[in-house]
């Protein structure tokens, strides 16, 4: 049996001496989808950043298709197939929309034309500087930029946070289309239903640990259980 796309084994990590994550175990198969749920401050972003190699890891292994990548810097992990849409979006404000996409370009089916076709709003704004975009447009750009990397696994950290309702639909439609192409994804979301609808499995975090695991469909059908697990 081939190893999972991504496996996290007993990972403990944090920032400097502050340990945030405690013994995290996860596995994501090729093309799989995982919803990462939990209240504010439980460590969801820290887990995403740990997958990217942007925290201080003190124990555990992170395996990419069976290969330990825990020692690799972010740029090398991305080159292996990780794509990151950070919670703060972090688009390059001093670069144009098109440059934001171009600096991330890696070989594969996703290129400028295809990103513009999926997210036409970006095509309209291609000559604008990053700082000129609305919050929703920045989110689209962060998503398009990650696609330019031609990732095998997309890490989406609260991609709907703070968006106007029309923009939520645009972003959700795009993510739905991506999930349909067999792209694996990890989606952090406060609105559990949106993430559950797009994924096969879910984990719930609390205080740096995974406290529950469930099938997304089963959880979606049982709103009372979502409230009980996440307190939301």
């Amino acid at each position: 049996m081939s190893p999972p796309l991504l496996a996290v084994e007993g990972v403990t990590a944090g920032y400097g001496r502050a340990t945030i994550l405690d013994g995290i175990d996860l596995a994501i198969p090729e093309g799989g989808g995982l919803a990462l749920l939990g209240r504010n401050g439980v460590g969801k972003t820290t887990l995403i950043r740990t997958l990217m190699g942007l925290t201080d890891r003190t124990a555990g292994r992170i395996l990419w298709r069976g290969r330990d990548v825990a020692g690799l810097p972010a740029a090398e992990r991305v080159r292996l197939g990780l794509g990151w849409v950070p919670q703060e979006r972090r688009i390059f404000r001093t670069l144009s929309v098109q440059e934001n996409l171009e600096v991330a370009a890696r070989p594969g089916p996703w290129d400028l034309a295809r990103v513009y076709a999926l997210l036409p709003r970006l095509a309209e704004r291609r000559a604008n500087q990053g700082w000129q975009l609305s919050g929703g447009e920045q989110q689209l750009l962060a998503l398009g930029r990650a696609l330019m990397l031609n990732p095998d696994l997309l890490l989406l950290d609260e991609p709907l946070e703070g968006l106007a309702p029309v923009m939520v639909d645009v972003v959700l439609d795009a993510i739905r289309e991506l999930a349909g192409t067999g792209l694996a994804l990890v989606m952090v979301e406060q609105h559990a239903a949106d993430a559950l609808e797009l994924t096969g499995h879910a984990v719930v975090m609390d205080r740096g640990r995974i406290v529950a695991r469930a099938g997304s469909a089963a959880l979606l059908a049982d709103p009372a259980r979502i409230v009980e697990l996440t307190g939301l």
């Binding site: 990217m52 942007l54 810097p73 972010a74 740029a75 991305v78 080159r79 990151w84 950070p86 972090r90 390059f92 404000r93 001093t94 670069l95 440059e99 934001n100 171009e102 600096v103 991330a104 890696r106 930029r145 990650a146 330019m148 990397l149």
Partner: protein, 285 residues
């Protein structure tokens, strides 16, 4: 006021030398937050390569210039891999102490190797003399320096604005962590720009020898000027460094010409005024 055109051309020419010698520092400060007080040693190194190549090996001036740039660039890439990259992410105090130490190492080494005195460097005949610009007589070499400075600034600005590698550098200057997150190998990019900056400093140092003279203390003597250019211009910007260097050159020369007693302080007044007006650099409102 007959001296005004001369002062302007002298000041601009001096400013262009400062630009060449400090632009690398501005870019590396912006890119990796490295406060490299030893950057002037690359300029001095280039100056020595040019001066010695000319005086000892009879190399012509125009060949000595690229030689100086190349030597400084090679020195830059070697020292970046061996020493400087260990400083990224360290505290500014660590960086300052370490790189000031390097300046003194340079001074001691250069003194031991080449002596404490000034290096001779005469301009070749075809660069001496004056040209007539619409009734104003201007030193030919000053004019060449200004032309070169403008050409380098344009090339750098275009490279930064219009090329893919320029966009990668700008992205990394703005947010190095996110740049890594979109697959940019920031460390390699930094080694490359560090090397380019060292090479330009070497070129500037070689060009400066006939104008400013050269002895082992050069990196220390001009350190304050480099820092003023970088602070005024703003970290990470080529255009800002260019404008700041031109202003510093003009004010320094004009101050010393018109107010000989206190003119040496004019440039510090300019620096204070500029930092009060635009603390993050002249281009950042």
């Amino acid at each position: 006021m007959t001296g005004l055109p001369v002062v302007v051309f002298d000041g601009l020419a001096y400013g262009m030398l400062l630009f060449l010698m400090s632009v690398g520092l501005a870019v590396t400060l912006g890119l990796m937050g490295l406060v490299n007080l030893a950057h002037g040693a690359f300029a001095a190194g280039g100056g020595y390569v040019a001066a010695l190549a000319m005086s000892r090996a009879g190399v012509p001036f125009l060949l000595a210039l690229p030689l100086a740039a190349l030597a400084a660039a090679v020195g830059g890439v070697v020292l970046e891999r061996l020493l400087f990259r260990r400083l990224y992410g360290r505290s500014p105090l660590d960086q300052v102490l370490f790189t000031v130490g390097l300046v003194y190492v340079w001074i001691a080494a250069a003194t031991a190797a080449f002596g404490a005195g000034q290096q001779p460097a005469d301009l070749p005949g075809f660069l001496q003399g004056q040209v007539d610009l619409g009734g104003v007589r201007v030193g030919l070499y000053r004019l060449v320096l200004i032309g070169l400075g403008v050409a380098v600034a344009l090339a750098l600005a275009l490279g930064l604005e219009r090329t893919r590698i320029g966009a990668l550098v700008r992205a990394s200057v703005e947010d190095a962590e996110m740049a890594g997150g979109v697959s940019i190998r920031v460390g390699r990019l930094f080694a490359l720009t560090f090397t380019l900056g060292a090479g330009l400093a070497g070129l500037g140092g070689a060009l400066a020898v006939p104008v400013l003279g050269l002895d082992p203390t050069f990196p220390l003597k001009y350190l304050a000027y480099f820092l003023i250019v970088v602070c005024m211009g703003g970290a990470g910007t080529v255009t800002g460094s260019f404008l700041a260097a031109a202003a510093v050159g003009l004010v320094d020369v004009a101050g010393k010409y018109y107010l000989p007693e206190i003119g040496a302080f004019a440039v510090y007044g300019l620096a204070v005024a500029a930092l009060v007006w635009r603390p993050n650099g002249v281009l950042r409102a």
